[in-house]
């Protein structure tokens, strides 16, 4: 393991710096993207809405509150928010978001990112069951049900890109997409993009799958699962969810529109990469927010149909790629 690190040579410090930069970018950018989506929604509904920095302000408020936990919870409830944020941070560190040469070269793999996201979902679901309440368990059950159908769609959608690029290495996929701009218009990419959009909406709990601002426990999915969290714990859960949103949007942005990603490792190139990442994810976030405003939330048992549609799109994407090559 040490030899792997050393073998990467003189650029090691730069690469560690780049990965840290990516984690910070996702950590700050995720809440900002949520704020942006809230703002766009508010404006579309004719309200002024909270400032874009509201997500960060909420985090500051929550982290300063008293630490408080439900009775009878075990170490799982305490660990779950930490694991959620840590898994999102590692996923952010290995994904080519700002630079295409992240520090853990042996981790920049689409399957690793998918399973790191699963790790966060499992941690939160176990945390929801820990207090032994009706709502927490109900939220975990619903979240896992939706996850059980959206994870396959995510996996097969990224597989379509991996088959096209002949590698599951994210750096390799980004490099291949940069040298083949015509791929952007290829049918398998378009289908995979459609599937991924469905997955992103489901994984981040947006309308029409889940309503993040609901106040009625019976209609909650994600909010029911985290109902028992308060103070610093809730800050971590909120941060982790925002990071997952930022990560997924960044992943979609860089897999399909890789322009601007730093491939050289220079300081200026990284700055360009950061600005490009911000612009691309903001554009996708605006689109998602507009979809949210214009649709109604689906009934819970209609959601699997939407997700199964995403899964079928992803399978068709792979098939199209195999047939048309």
């Amino acid at each position: 393991m040490l030899t792997v690190l050393l073998a990467t040579g003189p650029g090691l410090l730069t690469r560690i710096g780049a990965s840290v930069l990516q984690v910070v970018a996702v950590g700050v950018g995720g809440p900002l993207l949520l704020g942006l989506m809230g703002k766009i929604r508010a404006r579309a509904e004719g309200r002024v809405g909270p400032p874009i920095t509201q997500g960060l302000l909420d985090l500051r408020k929550l982290v300063r509150k008293e630490a408080i936990r439900a009775e009878h919870t075990s170490a799982v409830a305490a660990l779950a928010p930490l694991v959620l944020v840590a898994s999102a941070a590692v996923a952010a560190a290995v994904t080519p978001l700002v630079t295409s040469r992240p520090v853990i070269a042996g981790g920049a793999d689409v399957f690793v990112v998918v399973y790191l996201l699963l790790m966060g979902s499992v941690a939160l679901a176990l945390g929801g069951l820990d207090a032994g309440t009706a709502f927490g368990g109900m939220g975990s059950s619903r979240a896992m049900t939706i996850g059980a159908i959206s994870e396959p769609a995510l996996l097969v959608a990224v597989l379509a890109l991996a088959v096209q690029a002949h590698t599951s290495n994210l750096t390799g996929i980004v490099a291949a997409s940069l040298s083949h701009p015509e791929w952007l218009a290829s049918p398998e990419r378009l289908l995979a993009l459609a599937a991924l959009v469905v997955v992103v909406i489901a994984e981040t709990g947006r309308i029409p799958v889940d309503n993040p601002s609901t106040h009625l426990e019976l209609t909650m999915i994600h909010e029911a699962m985290i109902l028992e969290y308060a103070g610093p714990d809730l800050a971590l859960v909120t941060l982790g969810e925002a990071m997952r949103l930022g990560l997924l949007l960044g992943l979609v942005a860089n897999l399909f529109f890789p322009w601007g990603v730093d491939v050289s490792g220079g300081g200026f190139a990284m700055l360009v990469g950061l600005v490009a990442l911000g612009a691309k994810t903001a554009a996708i976030a605006v689109l998602v927010a507009l979809v949210e405003v214009s649709t109604a939330k689906l009934r819970l048992f209609r959601v699997p149909e939407l997700l199964a549609g995403g899964f079928v799109l992803a399978v068709v994407a792979v098939t199209t790629g195999l047939v048309t090559r």
Binding site: G107, F135, A148
Partner: protein, 672 residues
């Protein structure tokens, strides 16, 4: 040296069985367990040496079996299965010391566990038709007796044993028929002779042999639709036996398919392997769905075995197909991934069955709807079961992830093979892997979250106490294996590579590069799980440290406890908690077409008015749809024919004489 250690292992296992039968009641448990642990260690040394050096050994003696003699030979493929069995067997032997202490174990119970273990160690080394079938039948009989040991406590055990006995013997009959057919046309019953003549067999004959043996081996591996014995037998067996059945015995079905299909028949036709892959796809999806819907811990684990063996069958089928179309390097990679997953499955499923047994032992039930809060009562068991559950859910840093990643890489790169049928199988395989991944995570979040977290749902669960050190040691051995192989999978991959090469008819080039992580040799792809784990730990420490910088962080260590949100109600009881049934309800509703749950709602109205219900009872069962649709009609028709046949011998001597006369006439006509 390796052959001597292996034989010592077999001898010790036999001695353990003998000790279990003859020692006085107080000593027999410990004596048998110590002996069988030693047997496992010796077999581990012998088979490990074969795997490490790559040199097979052969032994022959005419003294034991008359007419044919005993022919043993252990090549790296067989050695890999012996190693898996020995590791799971070591853990199960250790565990059995504590498991049997709550009552005096019967002679059968203590003797049959080591005897079963001995036959499991013997089957992969059998090198002739006669030796193989004797070992296979001994395995079926000893496992049947081991399964039956708790029949006095639970009458369902007898029913499970009947299903198991019938399924395993139909399978054995098919294997025997296939192998006899093969031996008569290949000019000998020794596997070496058959391998030497495998090119002379005609394709139709080889196909018939393959299909017959596939039927038998697939039923042993629990492939749908031959899996029906598994969700009955695994829950009813004592837990060390369940662990051995699920972690070691089902593997031998995979061994048989590889031994016959690749070694004895030389790889054969493309469609054979597509059939294997199709069996795998159906088994994996069906098993994962039922695991997600089950509320009995051990039944859930049994269905999860169907799921995981399905994934292995997909790998074996894809590897066989790739080898037929001439992609040896890719075939080697996929088979390596499948065998690695099989080894990992032995570790985490063994651990999970032992953990479920510990909970059953302490709480008196294995029904998830009556468990809960076990983590506080049995913290060590909870952690070890948790490691197993997270491993099987393929979380990064644990061994399930390492093998699923390899399998995904193998299937992904297999798309370069440019054979349309193979690609269709690969696509189906990848889609299956994706679907079962999410379902497995749901099933094990349910097992872990409902069973171990929250509040106890029954008195038994509330009174549970931590199990003894020997049981924890058995689970700990397997859980430790899960962690080690998850962080540094590279340590076992060279050995698995040798097993893979021996498992393919034409061999295969090396599939992985040496090192601690996972780096593919023939195609581009590498990950380093150790670095990911370091990254996760650094992340955890940094977040924890950052939180402590915040002004009010002093109370983070001992946060104030407050009542959970109950919608304004003050009292929260365990009856308000979610149960395993309700946890699985949304998924069950989504997949109602496959699971076909039975609902039964009865409302009793008050006598005064229909608007006031007096009592509402709701029953729900998720039965095996295949059992209902396929097996019940077959059983009903067999019973019907049986009743019909009973009318023929009615006790009349005249009728029997007429039968004798008719038979004589018939024989004369045929001979004339």
């Amino acid at each position: 040296m390796s052959s001597a250690a292996y034989l010592v292992g077999l001898g010790l296992a036999g001695t353990a069985a003998l000790l279990g039968a003859v020692l006085p009641a107080r000593r027999r448990l410990l004596g048998a367990a110590v002996m069988s642990s030693a047997a496992c260690l010796a077999a581990l040394v012998g088979a490990g040496d074969v795997l490490a050096s790559g040199h097979a050994f052969s032994l022959y003696t005419a003294q034991v079996l008359p007419l044919t003699g005993v022919d043993l030979s252990l090549d790296p493929l067989g050695a890999m299965f012996v190693v898996i069995t020995a590791v799971v067997g070591l853990a199960a032997s250790c565990y059995s010391v504590g498991y049997g202490t709550h009552q005096t174990p019967s002679r059968t119970a203590t003797a049959m566990l080591p005897a079963f273990l001995a036959t499991l160690l013997l089957v992969p080394a059998a090198a002739s038709l006669a030796t193989f079938m004797v070992a296979w039948e001994l395995m079926a009989l000893t496992s049947l007796l081991a399964l039956l040991t708790e029949h006095r406590q639970r009458p369902e055990t007898r029913d499970a044993a009947q299903w198991y006995a019938v399924m395993t013997h139909i399978g054995a009959a098919a294997i025997l028929l296939g192998l006899v057919l093969l031996a008569t046309h290949a000019g000998g019953q020794s596997f070496a002779v058959i391998t030497a003549h495998r090119r002379e067999l005609s394709v139709p004959l080889a196909s018939v042999v393959f299909l017959l043996t596939l039927f038998g081996f697939a039923s042993k591996a629990g492939a749908v639709p031959l899996h029906v014995w598994l969700p009955r037998a695994h829950p009813e067996a004592p837990s060390p036996v369940s662990a051995l059945m699920s972690g070691a015995m089902v593997n031998l079905g995979i061994y048989g398919i590889l031994r016959v299909g690749e070694d004895l028949l030389g790889g054969g036709e493309l469609w054979w392997w597509l059939v294997v892959a199709a069996l795998g796809v159906v088994s994996a999806v069906f098993g994962a769905l039922h695991a997600a819907a089950s509320t009995d811990t051990k039944r859930l684990l049994a269905y999860s075995t169907v799921d995981n063996l399905g994934l292995v069958l997909i790998g074996v089928g894809a590897a066989g197909a790739l080898a037929v179309v001439g992609e040896q390097a890719l075939a080697g990679l996929v088979l390596l991934a499948a065998l690695f997953h099989l080894a990992n499955h032995g570790l985490f499923k063994g651990c999970l069955f032992l953990g479920a047994g510990a909970v059953q032992h302490a709480a008196g039930t294995r029904d998830l709807d009556r468990l809960g809060g076990i983590a506080r009562k049995m913290p060590a068991t909870a952690v070890l079961f948790g490691v197993g559950a997270l491993s099987i859910s393929a979380l990064p840093g644990l061994n399930g992830f390492a093998s699923e990643w390899l399998l995904l890489e193998g299937l992904l790169h297999g798309f370069a093979s440019h054979s349309a049928l193979t690609e269709a199988a690969l696509l189906a395989g990848v889609a299956t892997l994706a679907i079962t991944g999410g379902l497995t995570a749901t099933a094990f979040v349910k097992a872990l979250g409902v069973g171990f977290l929250g509040q106890p749902r029954s008195k038994g669960a509330g009174d549970a106490r931590e199990v003894g050190p020997s049981m924890l040691a058995g689970m700990g051995l397997l859980a430790g294996g899960c962690v080690v192989l998850g962080i540094v999978p590279g340590v076992v991959l060279p050995a698995l590579d040798r097993a893979t090469t021996a498992g393919l008819a034409d061999g295969a080039p090396r599939a992985v590069l040496p090192g601690l992580g996972l780096a593919l040799a023939s195609v581009r792809g590498a990950i380093d799980p150790a670095l990911l784990v370091v990254g996760l730990l650094v992340g955890l420490v940094v977040i924890w440290g950052a939180l402590r910088l915040v002004p009010r962080s002093a109370d983070l260590r001992s946060p104030r406890r407050a009542a959970a949100w109950g919608c304004g109600r003050e009292v929260q009881t365990a009856r308000m908690e979610i149960t395993a049934t309700s946890f699985a309800e949304p998924l069950q509703r989504v997949f109602a077409d496959v699971l076909r749950p039975d609902h039964d709602l009865e409302v009793t109205h008050a006598a005064e008015s229909r608007y006031f219900p007096e009592a509402i009872s709701f029953h729900q069962r998720v039965d095996d749809a295949i059992e209902r649709v396929v097996y019940r009609p077959v059983m009903a028709s067999v019973t019907w024919w049986g009743h019909l046949a009973r009318r023929v011998p009615n006790g009349s001597v005249h009728r029997y004489l007429a039968f004798g006369f008719a038979a004589l006439v018939l024989v004369l006509v045929v001979l004339a």
